[in-house]
């Protein structure tokens, strides 16, 4: 595979017709949220621009992002895109291993200095010089610093690299950090989710390839095209929420009828993602569609916002797990008890004073 091939050339080499290629371009521009008039720019970029080299690094993670990326229901389209981005280094997917693979990484860093994209999957362990995550004999902390130095932009795949997932949940023994807390001088696109939707992942890469710039980002650095609205806003069960029809336990009649999972701890109202729009596995379903409340995996520190099956988070309070209502009630109760005690003391004092006056 030549590294300077364009997307269109690769399509042709793989026996994909021109019609399918244009379909793919239209589909990509729809995913990117572009107007129909932008389709020619996408086609032009796919035909003329050499493929963007991508170095895909894996830190402390479970590889679920890669799984999502490769396991799609449109293999002809997405497998090609997977090849098209010229994925030059991926220690999970590459056929080569060891020194050969490390040489490829070093080579790309030299050859495409300032042009390649660094895709990061996973947290970066920072405690004790990052010894809790070693890749190829060096700490992942060093590798990420070295590779990020000459990249054009960073894509943070998944909850780990974007915000920090289970590794940096409290108490975070390995001092794990998301990428933006380690690399501060490079543009970063966060593609959170555990894992993110595959169409979202390919859409971000296609946008960079088409326009040479990062997609428009929201306040958290996530692409607006995919993370602008909450799961709740586009949820097909929203009508049940508005009507006040809720599932109360996982074996009740409401579960069978597919009512709203709000009372089962659904984090849809506070989670920004495209699950209820694009859905998963080629539009087959998504968690709420399968009867499970959203756990908010694309939101910052979602492991510490638990439990998953309760609407109101439990927080440590006076050495025990509590929630906002219990803390509030204790405070109000304490105030009432304090007022009662104060009233009693006032009454005693007054009585004494009156007695004293009489004498």
């Amino acid at each position: 595979m030549q590294s300077n091939q364009t997307f269109a050339e690769l399509f042709r080499a793989r026996g994909v017709s021109r019609r399918d290629f244009l379909k793919f371009c239209s589909l990509t521009s729809v995913y990117l949220g572009l107007s129909p008039s932008m389709v020619p720019s996408v086609v032009h970029a796919m035909e003329n621009k050499p493929r963007t080299p991508v170095l895909w690094l894996h830190g402390q993670e479970c590889t679920c992002c890669s799984e999502s990326f490769i396991r799609s229901s449109h293999p002809t389209i997405e497998d090609l895109l997977f090849n098209m981005i010229s994925l030059d280094y991926d220690d999970v997917l590459s056929a080569a291993a060891g020194h050969q693979l490390e040489a490829v990484r070093k080579n790309i860093m030299k050859e495409y200095k300032g042009k390649y994209i660094l895709a990061v999957e996973g947290n970066i362990s920072t405690k004790d010089d990052g010894v809790y995550c070693m890749v190829g004999g060096d700490s992942f902390l060093n590798i990420i610093r070295e590779t990020a130095a000459d990249c054009a932009a960073i894509i943070a795949w998944g909850a780990c690299a974007s915000f920090g997932c289970v590794q940096n949940a409290d108490p975070n023994p390995s001092g794990s950090k998301p990428i933006h807390e380690v690399i501060k001088d490079k543009p970063i696109v966060k593609v959170p989710g555990c894992p993110p939707i595959s169409e979202v992942m390919t859409g971000v890469v296609a946008h960079f390839h088409t326009f040479g710039t990062l997609p428009e980002l929201d306040r958290f650095g996530r692409p607006k095209a995919f993370y602008n609205t909450r799961i709740h806003d586009k949820c097909y069960r929203r009508a049940f929420f508005d009507a006040g029809m809720f599932v109360r336990s996982f074996d009740d009649d409401a579960t069978r009828k597919g009512w709203c999972l709000y009372k089962m701890g659904c984090k849809g109202p506070t989670t920004y993602n495209s699950c209820s729009k694009i859905q998963w596995n080629g539009g087959t379903s998504f968690p709420i569609g399968s009867g499970h409340p959203c756990i908010g995996c694309s939101e910052p520190n979602f492991w510490d916002r638990g439990p998953f099956y309760k609407r109101l988070a439990e927080v440590p309070f006076l050495g025990s797990d509590s929630n906002a209502d219990r803390i509030g009630m204790i405070a109000v109760g304490a105030a009432a008890a304090g007022a009662a005690a104060h009233a009693a003391v006032t009454a005693v004092k007054k009585t004494k004073e009156e007695k004293h006056e009489k004498e």
Binding site: D218, D242, A243, K267, P300, R305, R311, L312, G328, V332
Partner: protein
């Protein structure tokens, strides 16, 4: 004890108006807010399209919230520019060490039963002023800002979302914002308990008819007790 020697007009109409609108709004907001967090009513029978069970509670919460905000802004205007000796921010200077001096200490000591006499104020005493600042000014501001940030989430990129959306990253996400709003809502019932106790106690101990003053506007000055 002293006898009634004078009537003083303490709470002018804007202050009384604010007080009662605020009181009603706070109770409604607390009840609807708690319901939204934990909808307890049984679901209706039939199809979802026929009902507005949850959206009605949310509608009331949002509508009352905007009345609450307008009322709060009105009170802020009155506190800053109103021609009102007892309703102004004028005397409240927590940044100046002198404000924490003798009057404040006397009032705290009185509340802690460390003094035998009860200091008397026509308007708010310094401890009450501090409590109002913390609970009502800071508390309301917090609830208004977090509330508007969450309201803006309904329409990303819209007017409210653009103006108040910066609170989302500040709080570390939508969920934490919701949680903080929920937790801080409890300061209002907490304040209600303390406020009602303080009012009734002062009315009984000082006999200045402070309870009815928020309806009539008048307090009654009582003759000093001969020492």
């Amino acid at each position: 004890m002293g006898r009634l020697i004078e009537e003083i007009y303490v709470w002018r109409l804007p202050v009384r108006f604010y007080h009662w609108v605020n009181a009603i709004c706070t109770v409604l907001l607390l009840l609807t807010g708690l319901y939204i967090a934990g909808p307890v009513l049984n679901p209706p029978l039939g199809e979802a399209v026929w009902y507005k069970g949850m959206s009605w509670w949310r509608y009331v919460h949002f509508a009352v919230a905007f009345i609450f905000i307008a009322n709060f802004l009105f009170r802020m205007y009155w506190a800053l520019f109103g021609n009102d000796k007892y309703g102004r921010f004028g005397g409240f200077r927590p940044w100046s060490p002198s404000w924490w001096g003798q009057p404040f200490r006397e009032q705290v000591e009185s509340y802690l039963f460390l003094r035998s006499d009860e200091p008397n104020y026509v308007g708010h005493n310094p401890v009450a002023a501090l409590a109002h600042f913390l609970f009502i000014f800071c508390g309301s501001s917090f609830m208004i800002l977090t509330g508007l940030a969450m309201y803006g989430e309904n329409n990303p990129g819209g007017f409210t979302g653009t103006l108040f959306g910066w609170l989302l990253p500040l709080f570390g996400g939508s969920y934490t914002l919701h949680f903080s709003h929920h937790l801080m809502a409890w300061i209002f019932p907490l304040y209600l308990v303390v406020h009602l106790y303080a009012v009734f106690r002062h009315d009984i101990v000082d006999r200045t008819s402070v309870t009815s003053s928020i309806v009539t506007g008048f307090k009654h000055k009582v003759e000093e007790e001969p020492v």
